[in-house]
């Protein structure tokens, strides 16, 4: 560990400071724009700027959430969103911490982050999703641990868990039992495929089972016909989508409780079903004539032009699904390569928007377009297309995302000076709002950092209790 830490220090000393290029000021962003043309933008900016977030109330600060999920990200993602919006989220981890804390990309332990008080390592993925949360530990495999959870549940509005189906119920701390203790409790179970039904979750199942079982992987990647194979999301995407779905369900239940019924309910959300919900037209198409949606790489089955293709320094997206944009794109191409423009515009087969959808038409379209852009960088192609008001943009890599002037200015990417972890680059809350914006107050905590606060404040434990529970491994 000492070696890893030394290596981390060395890497850190060599890394470029962020931002490498200073964040633009408002004057720079709107330089030369007449008042009338920026009035609305400045109004919006004043209404929702992230720097003012801390002057404003929090939408959910009356909700207390116990997040008992661990080893997958779906529950953490759900509670992250609630925490950004102000809920008091208490992370209930097994003693020793959520196994996710140990994960680093490609086993590179020199990517750990260390807190200032204990010097305890934590993986960057886990840290990024522990925003605004309190860290407590509790061993739910012990009788006493479960009794403590029951006491905590009295004080909670929401409980999130992702244990194998029925585990909490068998332990006497499931929805059926906790709702007796606290009828106002909203109990949200999250998983990959469900806690009931023939494909219900198996212990240890990860997000990839959701991506594969919902049809997403089959449909993603370069088609076999072009030498490709299916691929998953780089991210634990189904956890993110499922966790967002869980947050919607949880908030809808909270709204119903506090407006109408006064009672909580049982919410269930899974990664696979959340993605099934948003897999476009796959099911409707199959139901109409048995079609099985193929992968179509970085092109689109239903829109042309609407694709990413290679250029000189990477890949670039060009979009123009209707006639006006179609002609503007070929006009742009024609400025450099008139024969390519002619090859498209003289072709009667491509006159109608819908005629451009069959595969052969798409091959012709994108071969011509790529022939034009292959000698251009992403920035050059984007500039040429934007001169004709065509939406386009390069596929950006992480260093470029981090330095994108627009993102830095708007706080999509920002640095927090966290009181435990120091300066950490992260994605800010995407919840921009006039009255109750989302925000990041701190990034994360070491294992059990808030045990004393939570157990004293909510359960009245004294130092003897805490000492005993800790030495017996219950917390």
């Amino acid at each position: 560990m000492a070696d890893d830490r030394a290596r981390a220090v060395e890497l850190e000393s060599k890394a470029k400071p962020w931002p490498a290029i200073p964040i633009d000021t408002q004057e720079e962003v709107y330089a030369g724009v007449p008042d009338s043309a920026k009035d609305y933008n400045l109004y919006l900016e004043s209404a929702v700027h992230w720097k003012d977030a801390h002057k404003k109330p929090e939408a959910l600060d009356r909700l207390r959430v116990l997040d008992c999920s661990h080893t997958t990200m779906i529950g953490h993602w759900c509670s992250s969103l609630l925490a950004e919006l102000g809920a008091e989220v208490i992370q209930v981890e097994p003693p020793g911490g959520d196994p996710l804390r140990k994960l680093v990309p490609l086993g590179r332990k020199h990517y750990y982050f260390y807190d200032k008080e204990r010097g305890e390592p934590v993986g960057p993925h886990f840290l990024h999703e522990m925003r605004n949360k309190l860290s407590t530990t509790l061993d739910l495999e012990t009788e006493e641990g479960r009794e403590i959870l029951k006491k905590l549940a009295v004080h909670a509005d929401v409980l999130i868990e992702n244990y194998p189906p029925g585990q909490f119920d068998a332990w006497g701390i499931g929805y059926r039992q906790l709702s007796e203790i606290n009828p106002r409790l909203i109990y949200t179970w999250v998983g990959q495929r469900g806690q009931w039904g023939p494909l219900k979750d198996k212990p240890g199942m990860t997000e990839i089972a959701a991506e594969a079982s919902c049809g997403f992987i089959h449909g993603t990647g370069i088609p076999r016909e072009q030498g490709g194979r299916p691929v998953k999301s780089a991210m634990w995407m189904a956890d993110h989508v499922g966790g967002t779905r869980a947050a919607i369900g949880t908030l809808a239940a909270a709204l119903y409780r506090d407006r109408v019924s006064g009672r909580g309910q049982f919410v269930e959300a899974t990664g696979a079903e959340a993605v099934i919900r948003i897999l476009d037209y796959d099911w409707a198409w199959y139901g109409m004539d048995g079609s099985i949606r193929p992968r179509y790489g970085n092109w689109d089955l239903a829109i042309n032009i609407y694709a990413v293709n290679p250029c000189k320094d990477g890949l670039i997206m060009v979009g123009g699904g209707h006639d006006r944009l179609w002609y503007r794109i070929w006009k742009t191409v024609g400025k450099d390569r008139s024969e390519l423009e002619d090859d498209i515009l003289d072709d009667k087969k491509l006159r109608m928007v819908t005629d451009r959808l069959p595969h052969e038409a798409q091959v012709k379209t994108y071969t011509n377009l790529t022939e034009w852009q292959k000698g251009k960088s992403r920035a050059q192609a984007e500039k040429a297309l934007q001169d004709e008001q065509v939406a386009s943009g390069g596929v950006t890599y992480i260093d470029e995302v981090a330095e994108f002037p627009h993102y830095k200015y708007r706080g999509h990417v920002r640095e927090i000076d966290d009181n435990l972890y120091g300066k950490v680059l992260h994605a800010g809350s995407a919840f921009k709002a006039e009255k109750t914006p989302g925000r990041v107050k701190w990034l994360g905590r070491p294992v059990g950092y808030d045990n004393e606060d939570v157990y004293r404040r909510l359960l009245g434990f004294n130092r003897d209790d805490l000492k005993r529970l800790s030495s017996e491994g219950v917390i």
Binding site: E45, Y111, S291, T354, H412, K432
Partner: protein
Amino acid sequence: MPRARTGGKKAATENSDFEEWCQQEFNPAAAFSKPEALKGYRVLSCTQYILGPSCAAYLGELGAEVIKIEQPRTGEPMRHTTPWNEPLLYPLSRWVPERGTGLGFFGANYNEYFVGLDFHRPEAKELMLKLAAKADVVVENYRPGTFDRWGIGYRQLKEVNPRLVYAWLGGFGGWGHGRGRASYDILGQAQGGAFGITGWQEEFGGFPSKHTIWLADYWGGMMQAVNILAALYWRDTVSGEGTFLEYSQVDGVTRQLEWSLPVYGRYGVVRQRWGGWDTELCVNGIIGCGKSSYPDSDNPQEQEEGYITITAYQDEDFIRLCDAIGRQDLAKRYPELDSRVLADSQREIYAALEEWAKDKTKEEVASVLDKNDILNQPVWNAKEVAEQPHWRERGSIGWLDDPTFGDVLAQGPGYKLSETPPRVRSAFKPVGTDNEFIYAKLAGLSNEEIEQLQEEEVI
């Protein structure tokens, strides 16, 4: 990585009625005998494409009364997109029965009322103000400032209705350098950073790849729905006040980048793509199986060789996996996650798995893995998914008797609430279907006025 403390590998429900109880509690067939969480909320959806529409549709699933406002006669652009230009649902509207709506529109406009309103016409403003006075939420995704210029933006609508939650969605947001930029889903994926890290590595002939769902749109709509529900919660339990919410699609995509930003910021390392494998767990990835499961099918999707995902990152699971494929040497050399997850180890391990699977179908691979208690999931195509009894029983995919279009296979809401379940009652409707009902109910228009406005294509 220590084993997750889950009470062991045996499912706890074997001797319990928990599963049956869940089936009853969440029974999708009983949804309509239960109340709706958002009953009494009215949402105006002034949206097109997917990002904005889906956001409003999610509220519609929960029982809000959602009114979709579209360009009269032709409707919004997404109605005119469909895969390979083949499947369409007719009529587009009662005025244009010979044309249909493409399936690109499907799924983003559940449970809504459909009215026409041409915002470019002077009469539109008055009508919009009348509707907004009675709405709880406006969802809108025109270019920033367009509605403001038309006199129906947040600044004007909050004057007629201070309780209004006004939710704007778009590509880059309405302020900052990119305020004028248009965006689409894949542009959001590309510029937000998710595209560059997804896809097979170069050594596999791969390229950066888009998520082949309109992910930044459909999921972005969900994010804004979360923000809307929080704003309504605050309005109805605390303040009584409306608000303005802004969602930028690229902002959302960047939010999903996990460890990428912290590691770049602290250590200067730029995350690269890692194909069908996992950067943090091994084994937790996709392998190719050499044989097709349906060699006699004439469908190219079924002729394709199979793929399967395998999860065996726990030490004891990995040992059993190595035993199953006859490569105990790998278990000896990579006994811990720390050593398995290194880049070169992953290359070697996945190559060995593919070598073992090259003469098998994905089902044959699954059967061996199941016998050895190793988590796996065949990569299912749309037909295999659609035919799974699991999704049907849970109401995640099912036949919908759509009031307009008949027998359509549709995705369900995808999550469950025991007391106030979300539900689907219609996929969508033709343009302007509910002109008479909505304009009479909310704008007090007479039959004659409605007919005239329809004639003039204002509504």
